[in-house]
Homo-oligomer: 254 residues x 4
């Protein structure tokens, strides 16, 4: 069961869909949310699904809203952009296919032919200077993005792309869309939000659209992250020391 709430049918010039939803390092979501905010993109549609959680959120005005994904548009120079973001991906495998199917139909109606999906790629440790890895629907797309510093690794490290970022390209390819997934290297630990990985992806997007993006706030978030990481490391070292104290295991020795 899918419900659309569409408040405007914008006329768009060569629109590109840029998707970022929750996932590893939350890279997709914060990247697209940052773009929406900085570019003052305009919300024009929402999609609701019975494969999102069966609850409502209460916001600061004490009003309730169902989980949903949101569409924004931005009138750019080289391309107009349709942004897709939200608080959730489908809770079920079948729901993933159903929602992405609906999103692709909607995108086609808007004139979208090109899709950029944003995600994180989990690595060991927290990368100081995260790379942006790429995977494409068609080989011809690789060359242009290599020039913007995107790394392509022949599927050796990144074996698969799970969820919306993957299915948009996979199902999209079957229906005539072209696209790329941009994955910022990040720390694969739940609840970790990685501003540094997002910064790296934003750089690529800025170059691709020939569109300057005010990076001040994201730089700030990256610094806050640095501070938080330093603190967490200190805390961890303390805990390790305490855990290794010999009394701990005495009862096993009897």
């Amino acid at each position: 069961m899918i419900t659309w709430k569409v408040s405007e049918r914008p006329l768009l010039y060569k629109p590109v869909l840029v998707e970022g939803l929750p996932g590893v390092g939350n890279v997709g979501k914060i990247t697209v949310e940052y773009l929406v905010q900085k570019l003052k993109a305009k919300k024009f549609a929402e999609i609701y699904s019975d494969h999102f959680p069966y609850h409502v959120f209460i916001d600061k005005k004490s009003t309730v809203n169902l989980p949903r994904n949101e569409f924004y548009y931005y009138k750019g120079a080289k391309h107009d952009i349709v942004f897709l973001t939200g608080d959730f991906q489908s809770m079920t495998p079948q729901g993933h296919y159903e929602i992405i199917d609906a999103v692709l139909n909607f995108s086609k109606e808007l004139g979208v032919k090109e899709i950029i999906t944003v995600g994180g790629f989990g690595v060991e440790g927290i990368p100081k200077n995260p790379q942006v890895l790429g995977a494409v629907t068609h080989e011809k797309i690789i060359k242009g993005f290599k020039e913007f510093g995107v790394t392509f690794e022949d599927g050796e490290r990144v074996g698969m792309i799970v969820g919306a970022s993957g299915l948009l390209l996979g199902l999209g390819k079957l229906r005539g869309f072209e696209g790329i997934c941009l994955m910022g290297e990040t720390f694969s630990r739940p609840m970790f939000t990685d501003a540094r990985a997002s910064k790296a992806v934003l750089g690529v997007i800025s170059e691709y659209f020939k569109m300057p993006i005010d990076m001040n706030d994201m730089n700030l978030k990256a610094k806050e992250l640095d501070t938080a990481i330093t603190k967490a490391k200190e805390l961890e070292e303390q805990m390790v020391k305490q855990t290794n104290k010999p009394e701990q295991d005495l009862r096993y020795i009897g």
Copy 2:
């Protein structure tokens, strides 16, 4: 698969849907069941779903019935009321959406434009004088209910409303309904039924509909609850004492 059994199509004046189904502290269910009983509301419809459990109950007459939700109506002064209650909510996430969708369609046919859902909000410990917290579909609804003592907390404590009470408002809002969820503070422990929280919600409902409700039986239940809580605390204290007896752990010491 949804099956309706409708025995009457009542003509209703400005009907408000008041929902209370099983949930935290069972506040919703006992509140609406109490209203149905005291107001002698009349049953006129039942809804069956394959997302309810796949068994029948045997009642005191040795007859069997499928799990179901039930609709009652009451002819009031300010508003007629449609009550929705039952022994179950959907067993699956998708079922929640499907059933609430059907309930909203049915409500629209009855002329319902306003929905009050009743639930419990779990807190630490058993509140002696539970507050009634509110969350609404539209900001304009807040003011009136504040006057009846409902607390609105900007989504800080209550982050979300799970199940029917939430979806009725969330999906309902998308389809032009207005409404509020009234949540009595209660003890968030399974199988706990909280008459005190129900009393608090009943007070708000009575004021909203300008409708006196005989509270004697609910007061009685609240007193029984007080007695039960006192006993449970004594029992718990005894158990704590016994558990702390030193012999218990001897075998670990070896």
Copy 3:
């Protein structure tokens, strides 16, 4: 997805559906299979569902068959009988509703208005003289079956009937069918097949249809069960003795 394979459309006189599928003590399945065999009932239909397991069985002729439920008919004196049995019930809750819905539609086409479902009711220990408990769609059915020794207990012991035996009556009642569930008291342990409980139910069915049933083979099975129970008890006692030997726990004492 439901697939029917119907080899004959029999003309039936006041047909009654008698259902027995796997369940507690396997009482339903062995009772109906025994009736099919003794009455030489004729197979005329099979129902297949994607809610049965996704495998085929290999039979003694090395041929494969999907899991299915089977329909047989028997031309009786007072009533013709449609038997429903098989190796499986649905593996999912939604499947239960879907299959029973299809069975009820099929039964209606055959002219069935009355349904007898057979199951087991699990009790502590293995009952020597199991009672047959009943639950009905309509109160008026009780009286006749009381005369055949069926016990009706006002829903106190038997709170619910799970699966096909319950849903056939529950969904059936909503569509104008009348019926009873006959439950033989049995030992509620998995993989236990209770010929004594089946004997008790067969007695009721024989009386209801005024139809003698050759009980020799079932008596034999009941005797084999008696022997098996005696042996199992002896084995259990031996094991209890051995388990209680003091050496067993030495390592915990240290």
Copy 4:
């Protein structure tokens, strides 16, 4: 949700569907992939389903593809052959039925009346000279395959066939197809790929289609397997020795 991508509609002479998908010992998949490679069969169709995993794979060209099953055809002498293989079977029971249903419809359109499914049959230990066990839709098929050395065991050892290899025959039988499942005896341990079992099945297929198959590469794989097994055994023996060292359990003795 099923999506077909069909690049060619070949005219086929008495086509036989030969299926091999991942399963026990991976026998089905490697057998059919080997045939596709050695016979230079031509890919002409792909099937996608929302019951496959909800991710895309990244291949060596950094391009993404959804999980899918693939169809190839080969123009043979006695029969043309349609091969079905792929990286996945359905992740859900209902999906198995839905996909096989679609495959059967597609096969019927291609003129297929006969189906050979290939799988492994798990036994204890790693069989040096694995037998090929058979199970059929119709008894008349047995005789011919017995002549090629296939063993039929009256369902005594092999009780059931799970997944695509079973459902293709089971659902196929209901729709007028005939067929056989060829099961190579193999070691039932996950992630184990058994070239010896595949060799045995390839022998039968070669004889059935009167079609020589270049076995050099498969013989090589079988030898590599032999070497790997020998090494694994040595490793296991070492581990057993180490595990049995008496110090290990000291702490339990206290």
